[in-house]
Amino acid sequence: MNASSADAHAAYVLRIADTCLILGQRLGEWVGHAPAIEEDLGLANTALDLIGQARLLLSHAGEIEGRGRGEDTLAFLRAEHEYLNLALAEQPNGDFGRTLVRQLLIDAWQMEIYTSLSNSRDQRLAEIAAKAVKEVRYHLRYSSAWVVRLGDGTPESHTRAQRAVDELWPWTVELFAADSIDQAMQQAGVGPDLASLRTAWLASVDAVLAEATLRRPPDVAQQRWGKRGQHGEDLGHLLSEMQYLQRAYPGARW
């Protein structure tokens, strides 16, 4: 593989890795603040699964890249515009309902992407995806159940859940909008045709929204490409907290 296709390949894996990492960090913000101790642990478990996936994927991306950057360097020592996570993942937690709506949208996306990546021509990526899909199946069950409870709950919880769906929906466009890197990886047999995954994703999200008596908003134009390093102010705040220790005490270990 030549240099530019290795770069595209590394960027492709980084996008999936960073989405796990940033979402895991977001969920970690709930620890000690969730509405019940059982939910505190539930969110922390999901966060740990995501960070575990991020570690494997970051290491893999570093190897493909071939510049000696390991998982820690990639996780903690990049600048904001070098993070390639989906913009949806960095959206602030808001209330518990908004966190779970965001989770549902990403869980359903991960189910589709990991399922198809488990047949990737990239052997290592296929192995990571096959392991991750089992974790995501539980995450999806957890987030779906909560979105149904809140959407079909009290007038207050319904209003809040609907507001979260309305506000987060525009960020889902990016999940299935293929750019040149996605297309190159599809041609190389590494990644799937993103547009074709959307049908299955939509079916799974629609089923939950319907049961939750929530309305799916119309698709609107793409706002930013998180996967091309275009991020909002929110990511900067998240990174300053996440990177603090490694920046202040380089090389610090447990």
């Binding site: 101790i37 059982e38 069950r141 159940a145 409870r149």
Partner: protein, 95 residues
């Protein structure tokens, strides 16, 4: 609604196939389905189990600790109820 309004469920975990479900603790939840998820998240983080039962704590009928003397004391001197009380004849090979 806060978690204080949630019902209490007792959690039973089967550690491995073939073993029985053992009581491990309790969780709060609005219904049994949520209780199973909570039990999974709270009590099986370290591969403790392969199966979960939950039951509403209010559905459990319990003996009164004040009755302990009447219920359990009489068994104390019934040593012949233990198999080790009996001499096994040498002729019995497989027991």
């Amino acid at each position: 609604m806060t978690s204080e309004d949630w019902a209490l469920f007792e959690v039973f975990i089967r550690a491995r196939g073939g073993l029985d479900h053992k009581h491990v603790g309790s969780v709060h939840a609005v219904d049994a389905a949520m209780a199973i998820e909570h039990a999974r998240d709270v009590y099986t983080r370290r591969q403790e189990g392969v199966s979960i039962w939950v039951v509403r704590s209010s559905e459990i009928a319990a003996s009164d600790p004040g009755d302990a003397d009447a219920l359990f004391e009489p068994a104390r001197d019934k040593v012949y109820r233990h198999p080790t009380f009996y001499q096994i004849p040498d002729e019995v090979e497989t027991l």
